[in-house]
């Protein structure tokens, strides 16, 4: 009986709750103990606004990650979507709502491109998405000679800066994308196939389903999130800058990996969001502690690779414990 309780506790700590949650709690305690500004409402609201972009990207990346792929193009695709968005509004006088739709379509297009590279052309996902990154950056830079596009219609600033029912619109966007992602993953056959792609692609093929289609769709979905994030980012800055998203893909990748291990076939929307929040709080906490920007990246990278290694080792240990239990 006691052993059984122990097992349940272990399952709760190590399996049911993403490991990142525990790290998150420790980190929050540390930051709030060392600086009283950390746990304030103003800081939380600020985090939300800043973090919307990252969390939305994380939710797309987690879907690709579950299929067993690595997505490194979304930062660049987001920049490109922003450029297109601004360009059609400024140069073609397109109304914002149409421009937003176009931004999402561009995102989906580039996501689908990734999917095609991976499925039909057999290119490993990290190379395919790096290639797409290059293509997107090149287009974003080339389309306006490397210049920022400004002078967006006044109305457009609503998305990034206003509230709806007292809640900032970016937060609404996070909530919507979160709900969409978790419904897709948990409540639809598509979700089952996404998990199947990562867990045992052969099983999916044996069941007679077009595995390639679902893989392409997973990448398209990640592209869509890049398109949505681009709208918020561009509206907040009221300008589109061609390289604004570079580096974002790393934070999104890190969030997705931390929220659900790098192992294919595993992960949840909640994990993706928690991983994203971890990154946000780490960045925010380092700022509040007054660590200079030029040191932050080094700490960031090191913490991240350590976290990946630790979560991998935990994962393996759990697997071993499970095997031993079964042997008995």
């Amino acid at each position: 009986m006691k052993a059984n309780n122990g097992k349940q506790l272990r399952q709760f700590i190590l399996e049911k709750v993403p490991t990142v949650t525990w790290i998150l709690i420790v980190m929050m305690i540390y930051f709030s103990a060392s600086n009283s500004n950390f746990l304030t409402f103003a800081n939380a609201a600020n985090l939300c606004r800043q973090g919307a972009i990252l969390l939305i990207l994380c939710l797309g990346v987690i879907v690709v990650k579950i299929t067993g792929g690595i997505e490194l193009s979304n930062g660049a695709v987001m920049s490109l979507c922003g450029m297109v968005l601004a360009w059609v509004m400024v140069n073609m006088n397109m109304p914002p709502y149409l421009a937003i739709i176009i931004s999402m379509l561009v995102g989906i297009l580039f996501g689908t491109l990734n999917g095609i590279f991976v499925t039909f052309m057999g290119i490993p996902s990290f190379v395919a998405t790096l290639g797409t990154q290059g293509i997107a950056v090149g287009l974003a830079l080339g389309m306006n000679n490397g210049n920022v596009i400004g002078g967006l219609p006044e109305k457009f600033s609503i998305i990034g800066n206003d509230n709806f029912l007292n809640i900032p619109i970016p937060l609404w966007a996070i909530i919507l994308v979160f709900i969409l992602t978790s419904v897709l993953l948990n409540k639809t056959p598509f979700g089952v196939y996404v998990y199947a792609l990562g867990g045992n692609e052969e099983a999916l093929k044996l069941s007679g389903k077009p595995a390639w289609l679902y893989k392409v769709l997973a990448y398209s979905y990640s592209g869509l999130t890049a398109g949505i994030a681009a709208c918020i980012l561009t509206s907040r800055n009221m300008a589109a800058q061609p390289t604004v998203g570079l580096g974002m893909e790393f934070e999104a990748f890190a969030g997705a990996v931390l929220g659900g291990s790098y192992i294919a076939g595993k992960g949840t929307a909640m994990g993706g969001v928690l991983g994203g929040i971890f990154i946000l709080i780490l960045r925010n906490g380092l700022n509040i502690l007054g660590i200079p920007t030029y040191l932050q990246l080094a700490i960031f990278g090191t913490v991240l690779i350590t976290a990946i290694v630790l979560s991998t080792l935990v994962e393996r240990r759990v697997q071993k414990m499970r095997d031993e239990e079964r042997e008995e």
């Binding site: 395919a128 290639g131 290059g134 830079l141």
Partner: protein, 333 residues
């Protein structure tokens, strides 16, 4: 058949004549196709712009290509084992920042900067290799993490302002001439010879091919997997460092973004040169040709007056297409 069942005659005395197969025309063509592509490219561009074939431009092309070639050779080594090192670009940045730091912030001699940079590259490769060989992370994940560690270290060392104005003896490596030939070209030549020798004539070099060709069989043949893998990443880190040194010496300054743009060409160059991403196939000569193709494409774009802002687009497309070609070639075999 009878002969073979008879024991006495299967004694090992019979003299078998070895066949030296003449490669078929198809094989010769495919072997030289890359060189051919390079030449065609050169001819094409020189037809469109006469400046291309001027000696001054060609020397310039080679000098520009030097860091690219060295870094691509590093990637080649990793490709041979069947892995990938996404951190190479940031290792270039990090090591050149290390050398910049030693040159401008300390009183140490200029050659110490070179040692420090190569040491830093080796260390970074060592860590990447350990993550792959011991922790057993996929090489893409491990090296992508190290990409940001390297970048972060570069930022941390540099602090707020870039390093510039290096001593002449250091700058000589990037700008100087020896016997009328630019130093970077000498360095590339020496490294290419060493790497060619290493891959062809050392047991470690051979083990790299073995691991890429079939890791299971390599282990079963008594090759020490972890040790060999780690040394591959160390070598690739050191080559990235040398690339960084040449770059820093030529530019006479280092900044935090200087290496990033080398990653994509470093993936494309070996693949275009016939080094398979799946491992076990390829070598130095192909990578040099592949790098030259990459450089000439961009140089040609400049000469033809295409805005350099489009360069990344072209590189991205070239990466995807060349890897695709590699996949197709492997399927056909």
């Amino acid at each position: 058949m009878n002969k073979k069942n008879n024991l006495a005659e299967t004694e090992m005395t019979e003299d078998v004549q070895l066949i030296h197969e003449k490669p078929s025309i198809g094989k010769i063509l495919s072997r030289f196709s890359r060189l051919g592509a390079l030449l065609l490219l050169c001819i094409g561009i020189s037809l469109l712009n006469q400046n291309f074939l001027k000696v001054s431009n060609l020397i310039n092309v080679f000098r520009q290509a030097a860091p690219q070639i060295v870094i691509s050779l590093g990637m080649t080594i990793v490709f041979l084992t069947g892995g990938i090192d996404l951190s190479l670009g940031s290792v270039v940045t990090m090591t050149s920042v290390v050398s910049g730091y030693v040159l401008t912030q300390t009183e140490l001699p200029w050659w110490f900067a070179i040692i420090a940079a190569i040491g830093a590259g080796a260390l970074s490769g060592f860590v990447t290799g350990q993550l792959i060989a011991i922790v057993k992370l996929p090489s893409a994940v491990a090296s992508y993490g190290m990409l940001w560690v390297g970048r972060g270290l570069a930022f941390a060392i540099m602090g707020a302002s870039p390093f510039f104005s290096f001593p002449d003896s250091f700058r000589y490596l990037g700008r100087g001439y020896l016997l009328g030939i630019p130093m970077p070209i000498w360095i590339v030549a020496i490294i290419a010879l060493i790497m060619g020798w290493f891959l062809k004539y050392t047991t470690l070099g051979r083990s790299l091919y073995a691991i890429g060709a079939n890791p299971h069989a390599a282990r079963a043949s008594g090759i020490k997997l972890s040790r060999t893998l780690v040394s591959a990443y160390i070598i690739s880190g050191m080559l990235a460092a040398i690339g960084g040194i040449i770059l820093a010496a030529r530019l006479n300054a280092v900044d935090q973004d200087m290496g990033a743009s080398f990653l994509l060409p470093a993936i494309a160059s070996p693949v275009m040169g016939g080094t398979s991403m799946a491992g076990g196939q390829g070598g130095v000569a192909g990578t040099i040709i592949g790098s030259l193709i990459m450089i000439i494409v961009t140089n040609g774009m400049n000469l033809l007056g295409i805005n350099s802002l489009w360069q990344q687009l072209v590189t991205g497309i070239v990466v995807v297409l060349s890897v695709w070609l590699d996949v197709i070639m492997r399927k056909r075999n």
